[in-house]
Amino acid sequence: MQISQKEWKELKKKQTLLKQASDVLRVEPEDLPRVIKRFQDELKEFKQKLKS
């Protein structure tokens, strides 16, 4: 599965973005989508509590 240098650079760029985003929440990149989902759910919950 060889890829061109251009593709490599593109994928590396995406990997860097994923890492930067994961670093914000201090989680491993593979956990990021799941953790974001959890934060979103909790945020929704907080907002509801504050409304009521």
Partner: protein, 783 residues
């Protein structure tokens, strides 16, 4: 085993056989027995009544040198080199002070070590010329407390090695050796002949032994010629076919005897100690020191049972109190120790060993902290980096590399200095509290505090001035790191009578199918074949997987010369079978193995020449390389290393595999080939990535760096002091990993409804901040 005492008796009784040198007799030397110590010695002086060794004789050259010329340290080496070259010796460049070619030593401890190799458990000699002379810098740590005190002890010293292997035809033996040593002293250095005395002794070690002749001038031992000629075979004496002359002379001693200075440090450190005296503003009372030095030899803490009493005796003999003695000599002793320790550090760091809390680096940190401790104790404005630079300049005619490497030597010294002072600040309160709680600072406690928290006894003394620091404290803490731990070989299977397995993977790395005969089944799960293309786990590379017949192979190990395959199901002994190797698994292992060499090369280029492989592992899931480095890697450094590694891959360098005689490989590529450790064989397989990297390695490798396809660093971590771990994947695994990241990025963006991927980190931060804010509000609402 024959013990030294028995052998000494035998040699003395049969002295004509072992010590009779016709050259000495023809010159008029007489053999006498010392009435004080009982040793035999050879002298031209009919009136001499005892041997010249301490304590039978004091130093008589102090303030009274026997030569007309006052040789400097460097001039002394040049004189010795000129003499031996004139007499048919090749002058060899010194070997590294970090002993990479022996797995039982961290540092080179004697000149003969340069030429000793361990092959199948036996020590063999490998000399690049015969005869030869070498100025070998050595490091030894047992004498730390004596350094600076006795006037003659060092951790770093240069041993001049005069070596010859004699087989009856080549090289020379005792007669010639003693003639040369006598002429070196009398003709080259101009020492009057009646001043030269030889003492009979013997040397025993590593199953070999022989007589030796130590030569003295005015009470100072200048050299020791050891004649190794016998083997101890279960208590029986066997004569060696190739006898070895190991004449080791401390270079320090030659300028000392020629100058008669109070200590050898005054002349050995030359301009460095003079500048240090100025920088520290220490008043060096030379006359007092001269009187003191004549007595200081008796302050060797290894030989004195009560050092305090010995010091009091010296003070009495000098007509001063112990306090005055200490005030007069201690600051100079501290300066001498700083000089010695920085010299040792300059040389060891230049050869790639970093101070750390483990292995050989442990002792380097001990002496560095000891030197810093003296600077703090006396409040001197001395920067160790300047001292290293002075050493590099002074030693340039002998070791030019020191000046070339000085920038990074200084960098490492500064990092360590900062760490030492951070530790001091961090541990100050701990020590204070312990002192307040009246903790009992036993020797064991002090060692434990040094090992676990880096707390030196001097720091404890700041809070508890009456603390008694054991004189041999630094010997105690360094002795456990004198030698590497011995590796234990696995020997739990019955392999008796089996012939060595023919290693087909060595002959043809591309061979993935082969035919072989089953020689033996062991415990119903290990099979031994007459030949195999399966690569057994070794050199950090996991074993090949595959099939033998219809039995899956899940592991392959090599014990001695025999390869064992772990299989499911019995195979019939004597039957011919077909072996098939899982090609995809092998491909990844191979990419990872050459990839490790590539990453190592990239690290050396990006981080610095002190980078060495500490250890490595290559599996079919990922690879890791542990390197020697003083700090964690920054993101930028990680990125640069990965870029460099991929550049090496893209450039398509040929990977050449060559089997070379070990001596030739070392000569051609240097000791850097031993990245993965020592090879205990006479033939070395060298893997060269074009001209940029050469390593001794038995693993499977690609033929061109292009075959690695790509390398992706997945994680870096400082795993221990001075060691950084780099985890990476290569080839398909690297692309798969990146694609996985791409998928995760997409998922994260979708979850947050981000269209522009570049905005994801910003958006995550926004959500996170909002989450923190709302959570706070919810919490305050509850209150």
């Amino acid at each position: 085993m024959l013990d030294k005492k028995t052998l000494r008796k035998k040699f003395q009784k049969e002295w004509e056989k072992y010590y009779k040198i016709d050259f000495l007799i023809n010159k008029g030397f007489q053999r006498k027995i010392c009435p004080k110590c009982g040793k035999g010695y050879w002298t031209l002086d009919p009136n001499r009544e005892h041997c010249p060794d301490q304590p039978c004789q004091d130093y008589e050259f102090l303030g009274n040198p026997p030569t007309n010329k006052r040789y400097s340290y460097i001039e002394s080496w040049h004189e010795i080199e000129k003499f031996f070259k004139k007499h048919g010796h090749r002058s060899i460049k010194q070997y590294p002070i970090v002993c990479r070619w022996r797995d039982d030593l961290f540092f080179t401890i004697a000149s003969i070590i340069d030429f000793q190799r361990v092959e199948k458990g036996q020590v063999i000699f490998q000399m690049p010329a015969n005869p030869l002379v070498v100025p070998q810098f050595c490091l030894r740590f047992p004498d730390i407390p004596n350094v600076g005190v006795t006037g003659k002890h060092y951790t770093a010293f240069c041993m001049v090695g005069q070596h010859s292997i004699y087989d009856g035809k080549q090289g020379y033996w005792k007669e010639k050796c003693i003639e040369l040593d006598y002429k070196l002293l009398t003709e080259a250095f101009g020492i009057p002949k009646e001043e030269v005395v030889f003492i009979e002794d013997l040397w025993v070690g590593q199953g070999a032994f022989g007589s030796s002749m130590e030569y003295f001038v005015r009470g100072l031992e200048l050299g020791n010629a050891v004649f190794t000629e016998f083997l101890d075979v279960n208590g029986n004496i066997k004569e060696m076919k190739e006898k070895v002359i190991d004449m080791g002379a401390g270079l320090n001693r030659f300028p000392w005897v020629c100058n008669g200075t109070p200590t050898s440090y005054d002349v050995v450190f030359g301009p460095v100690i003079n500048k240090l005296k100025d920088m520290a503003g220490v008043d060096h009372d030379r006359e007092f020191f001269l009187k003191y030095s004549k007595l200081a030899g008796g302050l060797n803490i290894d030989e004195v049972s009560n050092i305090k009493r010995a010091r009091r005796k010296v003070a009495e003999q000098l007509g001063v109190t112990v306090d005055i003695l200490n005030k007069k000599v201690r600051p100079m002793q501290a300066l001498y120790a700083i000089c010695d320790h920085t010299k040792a550090l300059t040389m060891a760091i230049s050869d790639g060993m970093l101070p750390s809390n483990t292995g050989g680096g442990y002792n380097l940190r001990v002496i560095l902290r000891r030197a810093l401790g003296f600077i703090d104790e006396y409040h001197w404005n001395i920067d160790l980096r300047d001292v290293c630079e002075m050493h590099a300049k002074h030693l340039k005619p002998m070791v030019p590399e020191l000046e070339q490497n000085i920038d990074w030597i200084k960098k490492i010294i500064e990092i360590e200095r900062k760490r030492f002072h951070e530790t001091k600040l961090r541990t100050k309160n701990i020590v204070k509290r312990m002192v307040e709680q009246e903790e009992d600072f036993t020797e064991e406690k002090m060692i434990e505090l040094y090992d676990s928290k880096g707390i030196t006894p001097e720091l404890i003394q700041d809070f508890k001035p009456d603390l008694e620091i054991p004189d041999n404290f630094y010997t105690k803490v360094t002795e456990k790191y004198e030698k590497p731990e011995k590796r234990v070989e696995r020997q739990d299977m019955d392999l008796e009578g089996l012939p060595p397995t023919q290693l087909l993977y060595r002959e043809d790395e591309k061979m993935l199918e082969f035919k072989a005969k089953v020689l033996k089944m062991i415990d119903g799960k290990w099979v031994v074949l007459d030949q195999t293309a399966f690569y057994p786990e070794s050199g950090g590379q996991k074993a090949d997987l595959g099939f033998i017949g219809s039995s899956p192979v899940s592991d392959v190990q090599k014990i001695g010369d025999i390869v064992l395959h772990r299989v499911m199901g019995e195979l019939e002994e004597g039957k011919e079978v077909e072996g098939r190797i899982n090609s995809y698994n092998r491909k990844i292992l191979t990419q990872h193995h050459t990839g490790t060499h590539v990453i190592n090369t990239a690290c050396r280029e990006i981080l610095g020449p002190w980078i060495w492989q500490h250890s490595a592992k290559k599996t079919s899931k990922k690879a890791r390389l542990d390197i020697t480095h003083y700090d964690s890697l920054t993101d930028k450094e990680e990125e640069k290393i990965e870029e460099k590694a991929n550049e090496i891959i893209r450039k398509g360098y040929p990977v050449i595999k060559k089997e070379l005689p070990r001596e030739e490989a070392e000569k051609k590529y240097g000791f850097r080939i031993y990245q993965g450790g020592v090879v205990p064989e006479s033939t070395v397989r060298v893997i060269s990535i074009d001209k940029i990297d050469h390593e001794a390695c038995g693993g499977t490798h690609v033929d061109n760096t292009k075959e690695i396809e790509s390398i992706l660093i997945t994680k870096t971590k400082r795993v221990q002091d001075g060691v950084v771990r780099i985890e990476f994947v290569a080839g398909d695994l690297a692309v798969k990993q990146l694609k996985k990241s791409e998928k995760l990025l997409k998922e994260a963006c979708e979850t947050l409804g981000v269209k522009d991927e570049g905005k994801l980190p910003e958006k995550v931060e926004e959500v996170f901040n909002e989450w923190k804010e709302k959570r706070k509000e919810v919490k305050s609402m509850r209150r």
